[in-house]
Amino acid sequence: MPPGVSLSDFYYILPELVLTGGALLVLIADVLLPKERRAALAWVTLLALGATAAALVPFANTHVEVAHGLLAVDRFSLFFKILFLLAAAITVLMSIRYLETEGAASPGEYYFLILCATLGMMIMAGGIDLITIMIGLETMAVSFYILAGYIKPNQRSNEAAVKYFLLGAFSLGILLYGMSLMYGLSGTTNLRVMASAFVGQEKDPRLMLAVILVVAGVGFKIAAVPFHMWAPDVYEGAPTPVTAFLSVGSKAASFAMLIRIFVEGMPSMSADWRLLFYVLSILTMTAGNIAAVTQSNVKRMLAYSSIAHAGYLLMGIVAGTARGITATLIYLMIYSFMQLGAFAVITLLRRKDVVGDELKDFSGLAFRNPFAAFAMLLFMLSLGGIPPTAGFMGKFWLFSAAIDAHYYGLAVIGVLNSAISLYYYVRIVVFMYLKKETSGSDPVITPALALVLGVTVMATLVLGVYPQLLFRVADVSARTLGVAGITAAIR
């Protein structure tokens, strides 16, 4: 055993080990199973995700640093790991019929990559060292590059992959350059040691450059304006379940990384990065919503809506208080359910003869499939922030966190943006309920898709009416970061 690593370290990364084992199992099963039985791979994947979730149970109250500060196993990472596993499971359920319709060659590789991306996200959420954060980020990103281009005969899918790859690699370069300056100015790669090393260096221009570079690098990953140009193209071109996973999992993991790097690693620089995120938040909300209004492709519209949501989510980071971080965590969880649900409806509309991602494909859906139309109605209202849905609760917490930290202007802009966003969310509802039916075969709900819609609809309603449990969990998770200490330093 190498020095510094003990057997107990392996115990603490048990969930990650189980997930790695599961991913390899899927890959082996893909080779061993006869071609007509490969549909069962989806269930093997779900089993692996379930086993990983079970392996998280012993660590519900753990708060340790593993392998001399490479990874943190705490409530914060636990919150995100649960989110990733849920999102991955929902994505797998969505993919089953979609892959059949698209005639994808080998589902085994697809599910393997989904599990790899999940593994990368889990490492990102736990990483408190530049090395682990980078490795987690790339495990996720490289899996997504391939997934985005998974439907090889489709040129749009290929283009999406190339665009995502080029801008992803470019943003990695910027992020790493910022990280190299952070390392050079602190002499360590551990974020928690770094935090104390930066105290007293606040005015160093090199450190400010590092902050700007890391903000830009992370901005690419969360698709914040002006680093968002890849998102609409990639979301539109990638296979729909991948788009769903990308817009939820990748965004949540990037926010976890953002919180780790800035809140844990650079609390003394908070005046600088809060200002940068303040500007990014306003730009992102406004540009995202205005661009979404003009879209006729629903996937593209949801891409701009997802950009706008990154702007809302940044409000909690700008506030910088424990309450702000809590609000961001709450909204990430709520956003995941409504976003995955909306993409599940688009997946449902994909049939042999219809692509199903244009606005006109939603015409008259209420008459052909009332349940799917009702689910979409709910997700749209929730994304727009209308009570009694979960989206309202999430936005309420974000805006009140901003007001609590005396960012009144930001909260007002947030509310105005929510009003703009209602226009394009309600437009889908109008198409579904008031327009004539279009041609093509009737959309059919498979049991897997019914399960997905059931879970996401329930979550959107229940979290809107009874959000206390989620609030308490998010609050406890945010407080493991020691945000309270930062707040004291700012005031």
Binding site: L130, I131, M134, I135, E138, V142, Y145, I146, G149, K152, Q155, R156, N158, E159, A160, A161, V162, K163, F165, L166, A169, F170, L172, G173, I174, L176, Y177, M179, S180, L181, Y183, G184, G187, T188, T189, M229, P232, D233, E236, G237
Partner: protein, 100 residues
């Protein structure tokens, strides 16, 4: 005498060349190479800082960056080839079935 600042200035220049290449060049392979230059600028910064600080962390992280860069290049080239089969071109401007 070559000091830390010389290395840092060199890596900053390399990084700027790489960034400029990404924006200016109109060939997917050249853009890929420009990104590699950016990553090597990062490596140089890490190594230079590691040597100046007398800590091994800077050298260690470079190994990880190189591995990641290799994995990215492998995947990236594969994606470029599968796109090339659709359209015999490496100019990003010719891929316009999605608005860029």
């Amino acid at each position: 005498m070559v000091t830390l600042n010389h290395y840092l200035i060199l890596s900053a220049i390399l990084f700027a060349i790489g960034t400029a290449g990404v924006f200016v060049r109109r060939n997917l392979i050249t853009i890929l190479l420009s990104i590699e230059i950016m990553l090597n600028a990062v490596n140089l910064t890490f190594v230079a800082f590691g040597r100046a600080l007398g800590s091994a962390d800077g050298q260690i992280i470079v190994f990880f960056v190189m591995t990641v860069a290799a994995a990215e290049a492998a995947v990236g080239l594969a994606i470029v080839i599968s796109l090339f089969r659709h359209k015999e071109s490496l100019n990003p401007d010719s891929f316009a079935s999605l608005k860029w």
